[in-house]
């Protein structure tokens, strides 16, 4: 059974949003890492914008962009949020406070939960839709895509998948080096839906040689291995190019196999 990708978004080094990233991912434009800062999340109130960390702002940006592309009102459908590191800056601040026997900030504490971005998303959009939040270390992208597609199929309803990771601050960064920030949003709808960008079929396969299929562009291959969310770069390339593809995402000693078929050209998203 397949599901349809009805919206896609990205934010990463040199990939500031889908509109700009698309021509780079197609190979039509050179990949250049530029210093562009993440736009402020206009969904959040001024108060929450001040409290939300980079990981949350990244997640909200790609979540909103993917929703907008699919013409889906933000927060109107269930979601899966996935991140390996969560908000490492918040965790670091609390660990420092604990080690120094200093008080823990209550705001930092409630921001330290792994589902902080999902919480801010539901607050920002006034959503009462279900959400789940996945962690899978370097297997986060594969685990999250498998789970998201399973939910679309089991519940037969659209879903927003948001995969994001930002670097850990020192000294934690030495324990899980992470490039970035990098975030991906995918708006997935049940397979009978018309239109959309591509159809994908996903399955788990046990494998003795589990490995992520690398992006085609050599310039992106380092980034794909340097941030758990950037492992989706090959899929993003495939969606940008509108070509069929079979790729895999590692999940511990197994892999998540993804078959991609572009939707007919007449309805392919163009921008």
């Amino acid at each position: 059974m397949t599901v349809v990708v009805a919206g896609v978004s990205v934010w990463g080094p040199g990939l500031p949003g889908w509109a700009a990233a698309r021509s780079i991912l197609r190979g039509a434009e050179e990949y250049v890492v530029t210093d562009v800062s993440l736009p402020p999340p206009d969904l959040l109130s001024a108060n929450e914008r001040r409290r939300a960390g980079l990981a949350t702002r990244l997640a909200l940006f790609v979540a909103q962009q993917a929703s907008d592309m699919a013409g889906t009102r933000p927060g109107s459908i269930p979601s899966v949020f996935a991140t390996s590191n969560g908000d490492g800056a918040v965790v670091h601040t609390i660990l420092e406070a604990l080690a120094a026997h200093q008080p823990v900030s209550p705001t930092q504490f409630h921001n330290s939960v792994h589902n902080a971005a999902a919480g801010y998303w539901s607050i920002a959009t006034g959503s009462q839709q279900p959400t789940t939040c996945i962690a899978g270390h370097d297997s986060t992208a594969g685990a999250a895509l498998l789970k998201a597609v399973a939910e679309v199929q089991a519940e037969d309803r659209p879903l927003l998948l948001c995969v994001y990771d930002v670097p850990l601050p020192p000294p934690l960064d030495a324990k899980h080096p992470t490039d970035g920030p990098f975030g991906v949003g995918l708006l997935l709808v049940p397979g009978q839906a018309s239109g959309g960008i591509a159809r994908i079929a996903v399955r788990y396969a046990n494998s003795t040689s589990a490995a992520d299929v690398l992006p085609r562009l050599p310039a992106l291959q380092g980034l794909a291995g340097g941030n758990p969310a950037a492992r989706l770069l090959r899929l993003l390339e495939t969606l940008a190019r509108g070509v069929p593809d079979t790729l895999s995402l590692s999940l511990l000693d197994g892999r998540v196999e993804v078959r991609v078929e572009p939707c007919s050209p007449a309805v392919t998203f163009s921008n």
């Binding site: 660990l95 939960v113 279900p130 959400t131 962690a135 789970k147 788990y204």
Partner: protein
């Protein structure tokens, strides 16, 4: 939904190791809370698992060594759980059983210890601190998958205090879509400075043993627990009959005062189960013992069930085991059905006079066919699960 059978279960908390010990504690109203004696922290009461002090991981899994994975390992080797999974592994194949586990803080206690052990000159963390296999969220699922010799899909679900409750829903969707044939669900959360000091910063730690639904309730007691269930499409024993999830969309750490999210999750659980409110015999509340949560949940109870359906919280026994409370209380629900028992809230002197739901303060015996279990978390995440006996029993 197609009911899913809990064909093997195990639970460890402050009231005992295993389903039998847990049932005995509930029946005899013997709680497990005591004054906090964890590290240098002395605020309030905690639910501590003493057996952890002597439990060690097998040498082949030593890289996962941390309090949280030790607690998980203790549960895996209680109630014959690991053996039951081994049988299922032969039946389905090791790659067809998913490991979907919930935790809110995983092995972060190891991170706390590593920060304390930093060298002042360099501020670097100790070389022997294995972040990936201890502190990292995913380490719990990676560890349990390794310990059970499984090779299927794995993920950690971390939705704060709704984490392990949510694993039932994620596993149901994985099985229903054919991504796997069976799943190990549940999870573990263990005592650490992060949560003991974090909840203290929010003024949510009660100075006495927590007393959910009491007029004078003044906060939570934090506990630790691990529990697992093997979910299969066929089998005997208790079954997951319905599930519901929602978001409050209101506040990161305060529940919606009108209980809109809780009501939505509870109604969704009835809807997926094809059940009406009067088919639920007892509701195991999230019932943390904070002013706000319990008042909110009373509103939700009355809205969904009216004032007649018995309900109570068992956190007076175990403390609030945070990300593990979903599996702990799911298995309490199964024990209620098996033992025809509705455990009344512990530590209550006088019920909150504003409450209108039928909150039990003493144990009652009687037919318990279906139980709803509620779990709510920071970020405004709500999960309701319904358990009953599987079809044919």
């Amino acid at each position: 939904m197609q009911p899913l059978c809990l064909t093997a279960t195990t639970v460890v908390s402050a009231i005992g190791c295993g389903m039998t010990a847990t049932a005995a504690a509930l029946r005899s109203r013997r709680g497990g809370l005591r004054p906090c004696d964890f590290g240098d922290m002395t605020d309030g009461y905690i639910g501590r698992v003493d057996a952890l002090d002597t439990h060690r991981l097998p040498s082949t899994l030593r890289r996962f060594d941390c309090r949280n994975n030790c607690l998980a390992d203790l549960a895996l080797h209680t109630d014959g759980f690991a053996s039951a999974v081994a049988v299922a592994r032969h039946r389905y194949g090791a790659d067809r059983i998913a490991v979907i586990l919930g935790t809110s803080t995983s092995g972060i206690l190891s991170g706390e210890q590593a920060y304390q052990a930093r060298k002042p000159a360099t501020a670097q963390l100790p070389e022997d601190f294995d972040y990936t296999h201890t502190h990292d969220m995913f380490s719990l699922a990676d560890f349990v998958r390794s310990a059970l010799d499984l090779h299927g899909p794995a993920m950690v679900v971390s939705t704060a205090c709704a984490s392990s409750a949510r694993t039932f829903i994620d596993a149901y969707q994985m099985i229903a879509s054919g991504m796997c044939d069976a799943a190990v669900v549940g999870g573990a959360d263990s005592l650490c400075g992060m949560t003991l000091r974090g909840f203290a910063s929010l003024d949510l730690i009660s100075p006495v043993a927590c007393r959910p639904c009491d007029a004078e309730r003044d906060g939570i007691s934090i506990g630790e627990a691990a529990g697992f269930a093997l979910l299969e499409c066929d089998g005997n024993g208790p079954a997951l009959l319905g599930y519901g999830a929602s978001s409050d969309g209101h506040h990161m750490s305060a529940p919606h005062p009108g209980a809109v999210g809780a009501i939505a999750a509870m109604r969704a659980a009835l809807a997926t189960g094809g059940l009406s409110a009067d088919e639920i015999d007892y509701v195991n509340l999230h019932g943390t013992g904070t002013r706000a949560n319990d008042a909110m949940e009373d509103i939700a109870m009355v809205e969904v069930f009216g004032a007649a359906t018995p309900c109570s919280s068992t956190k007076g026994w175990t403390g609030h085991t945070l990300g593990a409370c979903g599996i702990l209380e799911a298995l309490v629900a199964c024990l209620c059905i098996e033992h025809r028992l509705m455990p009344g809230c512990l530590n209550v002197t006088a019920l909150d006079p504003d409450f209108r739901a039928r909150v039990l303060t003493d144990n009652e015996q009687g037919a318990v066919r279906r139980v709803m279990s509620n779990s709510f978390g920071f970020g405004g995440i709500n999960c309701s699960l319904i358990f009953g006996t599987s079809v044919g029993e």
